[in-house]
C-alpha cells in the first residue's frame, strides 16, 4: 500500500510517497509555491507516481499539511504541520523530544512525549522575523540567493548586531548598516544570529533534549550551530529537514483512520 503526504507550505510545496511497509519513502518532490496550490501539488504528485511506475489508484490515502493544507481538495484529510512535523521527526529522529521548525512564514517549537506525539507547542505570533521569508528578503537585499546565505554568513569576522525583530524594520536597519560600510557577510551573520536569538524567546526555557531542527531554513549552513550556541544545547538537524512535514503527513496517511488526529 502506498500513501502520500503533501506539505503545502508558504514558500514551497513538498510531496512524499510512502510505502506502508516499514514507512519507506518511495519518492519525493518539491516546487515553489504559487497561486494554484492544488494544481502545483498535483503536478508533483502525478510526476512522482509516474516516476515510481505507479498509478493514482495505487495511492490509498493522501494527507495534506502546511499553510495551504485546506486548499488541497484531493487530500483525504488535512492535518496541521505541528502534528505532521512530530510524526515525521518520530521516523527520522526517534529519540527527539523537542522539534524546532523554522518554516517560510512561521517558527514553531514542538515538545514531544516519549512516544513521539505532541505534548505542547508554540508558534511565533504574526511577525515574519525569524522565518524563511525574512531570511529570503535579507538575502535578496544582500544580493545572494538563500542557498548561499549560510556560506556568506560563515565568512563574517564581526557579525553585525540586528536589534529589530520586525522584518520591515530589520530591512531598514540593514540598509543603514550597508550605508555605514558593514560587509554583507557581517550583516548576514548578524541576521542569522538574530533568528537564533528569537527562538530563545519562543522556547521560554521549555526545551527537552534531544532537540531537532527541521524546516527549509535548517538547511542554511551554520544555522544549527548558532541556534545550539544561543540555546546552550545540542541541536541536531533532521535528515531531509525540508520534507519532515510531508513525511509526517504520509505517515499519518498510513495510519488507520481511527488513529488520525
Amino acid at each position: 500500500m502506498i500513501y502520500a503526504g503533501i506539505d503545502a507550505g508558504s514558500r514551497t510545496i513538498k510531496v512524499v510517497l510512502m510505502a506502508s511497509k516499514g514507512n519507506r519513502i518511495i519518492a519525493s518532490g518539491i516546487a515553489d509555491q504559487g497561486i494554484d496550490q492544488e494544481r502545483l501539488a498535483m503536478d508533483i504528485f502525478k510526476r512522482l507516481i509516474s516516476s515510481s511506475g505507479k498509478g493514482r489508484k495505487d495511492i490509498s490515502r493522501i494527507v495534506a499539511t502546511g499553510y495551504g493544507r485546506n486548499a488541497i481538495s484531493s487530500a483525504d484529510l488535512a492535518v496541521t504541520e505541528i502534528t505532521c512535523q512530530a510524526a515525521g521527526v518520530r521516523l527520522l529522529c526517534p529519540q527527539a523530544r523537542t522539534v524546532v521548525e523554522i518554516g517560510g512564514q512561521d517558527s514553531k517549537l514542538i515538545r514531544l512525549e516519549a512516544d513521539g506525539s505532541v505534548r505542547d507547542f508554540d508558534m511565533n505570533d504574526r511577525c515574519a522575523a525569524g522565518t524563511g521569508r525574512f531570511l529570503e528578503l535579507v538575502a535578496a537585499r544582500l544580493g545572494v540567493g538563500l542557498d548561499k546565505f549560510g556560506e556568506l554568513a560563515g565568512r563574517s569576522e564581526n557579525p553585525a548586531v540586528i536589534s529589530s525583530m520586525c522584518a520591515v524594520f530589520a530591512e531598514t536597519e540593514i540598509i543603514g548598516l550597508l550605508a555605514g560600510g558593514a560587509s554583507p557577510a557581517d550583516i548576514a551573520a548578524g541576521v542569522r544570529d538574530a533568528v537564533a536569538s528569537r527562538l530563545t524567546a519562543l522556547a521560554g526555557g521549555r526545551l527537552d533534549d534531544p532537540i531537532v531542527l527541521t524546516g527549509g531554513v535548517a538547511m542554511i549552513p551554520g544555522l544549527a550551530d548558532v541556534i545550539a550556541k544561543v540555546l546552550d544545547r545540542q541541536v541536531q538537524v533532521s535528515a531531509r529537514p525540508q520534507y519532515t512535514g510531508a513525511i509526517g503527513a504520509a505517515i499519518i496517511a498510513c495510519s488507520r483512520p481511527e488513529h488520525s488526529p
Binding site: T80, I82, E113, V118, D120, F121, M123, D125, R126, P261
Partner: protein, 462 residues
Amino acid sequence: MKPKLAKITLDQWDARYEELKSAGLAEPFYGGPLRRHVLDGDLRLADLKFDDSPAALRLWNFLLSEEDRLFSARDGGKKIVGAMKDLGTVPVMALGLPNVVAFYPDGAWWIPCVMRLGDELLGIAQSMGAGESFCPVRAMLAAFATEGHFPIPDLLTCSVGATCDDFSAIAQRLTDFRQSILWWEIPARRVPQVGEEAVDLPGGLTAPVSQVRFVREELERVRRAIEDMAGAKLDDAALADGIAKANGIRRLLDELRYKAYTTTPCPMPAIEMLVAEMLAIHFCSDRQECQAVLEELLAEVNRRIAAGLGVQKADAAGIFVVNPPADLRLMNLLEDCGGRVCGSDYMFGHALDEIPPDVEPMEALARTALADPMAGPAGQRADRILRDAEAFGAEAVLICRIPGASHCATEGAVIAGAVEASASLPVVEIEVPPLIDSVRPNIQTRIEALVETARRARRRRK
C-alpha cells in the same frame, strides 16, 4: 445516532426568522430579525454562525439593543450610571433604585469588531492618544467622544488601583470631555498575614478584613453618589433585594454553564455562551429581562440535553477558554476546528459567584468586588482556572491574549505555566486582535493543532 443541530448564517437566519414568525413566535419588545442590526452597522454579524433557536435570537437581540434601551431610559427620565471597569458590583447597587439604569461602557471594546471597524472608533481613539499600545477597550474613549453608542451617563464610576492600568489611563482621558468620574479604589488583594484578621471571599479566596473594610468604604462613596444622583435613598433593603436578584442570575448562569460545558454533545454554541456569560457583569441594563433571556436559553439547553441533541460532534475536543477574544469569530473558529468550550474564565469569575447572602449588603458587595481576579495575583486566577478546567473536564486550554492589554502580557505565561505543571493539559496562548483576518491562518493552525493534541492525549489515556 442523534442528528447534530446546525449553526446558521445570517442569511439562513432571515429564512429561519420568517419560519418562526409564521409558526407564531412571540417576541419581546426588542425582538425582530437579526438582519436589522446589520443594517444598523453591526456588519460582523454577516460573518458569524449562530445558534438557530428562538432563545438565541432573543439573546442576540437583547445584547444588540442595549443602545436603544439606554437612549429610551434617558428619554423616559431615568438616571443612567456608567459603571466602568466594574465587573459586577456597581450595577447591582444602581439597579436597586427603580429610576436608575446602569450600563457598562467598557462593552464598547467589541464595537470595532461587531461593526468591522465601520465606526472607526479605534482610529478616533488613536487620534486621541490611545493607539495600539492600549487595550481595545480604547474604543470606549472614542464612543464617549462620538456620543453615538450610548448616552453620556449622569454618573460615571470607575474602579481603579489594582484592576487595570490600561483602563485607568484610558478612563483618565475622559476628563477631556469634562466628564467627571467617581473613582473608587480596589487595592491589590493579598493573602492575610499570620495572625491578621481574615475574611472569606467568593471563589474560595481570602483577604484581610482591613482590605474588605477599605473597599466597603469606597463602595459607600459610590452608594452616596448614586443616591445623590437619583434623589432617593438606596437603603440596605433595596440593596439586599438587588443582591438577591443578581444572585438569581448568577445561579442561572451557573446551571447554564455547567450543563453547556459538561454535556456531550455540546448543547449550545460557544459564541452564544460567551454572550450569555457577559450578561453577568451588567445585565444589559435590564436585570429582569436579563433573567428572562437566560431562563429561555437554559430551557433550550435542557430541551436539547433531554433529546440528546448537540451543536458539535461528540468527539469535539474540550477546550477551556481564558479571556474573551477581541474578535467574536474566534468562538466560531474554535468549533470549526473541532473544539468545543469546556469551561471559561473571561476575567470576571467573581461575577459568576454568588454574592454572600448572609452578611450586610455593603459587606457582601465589598467582598465580591475584592474577589475580582484582576485585583489579585495571577497565580490565584490560575488556581481557579485549574480547578474549573478539571471540574468541566477540559482537555486543553486556550488563552486569548488581548493586544495592548497590559495584564495579558504577564498573566498568560503564569496561567500557561500553571496548567502545564499541574494539569498536564496542552495549552496555547494566542493574540486575538479585534479583526483576526490578517492572522487567521496562524490562529487556525494553532487551534487545530491544540485540538489534534487534545484528541491524541485522549486516545492515549484510553
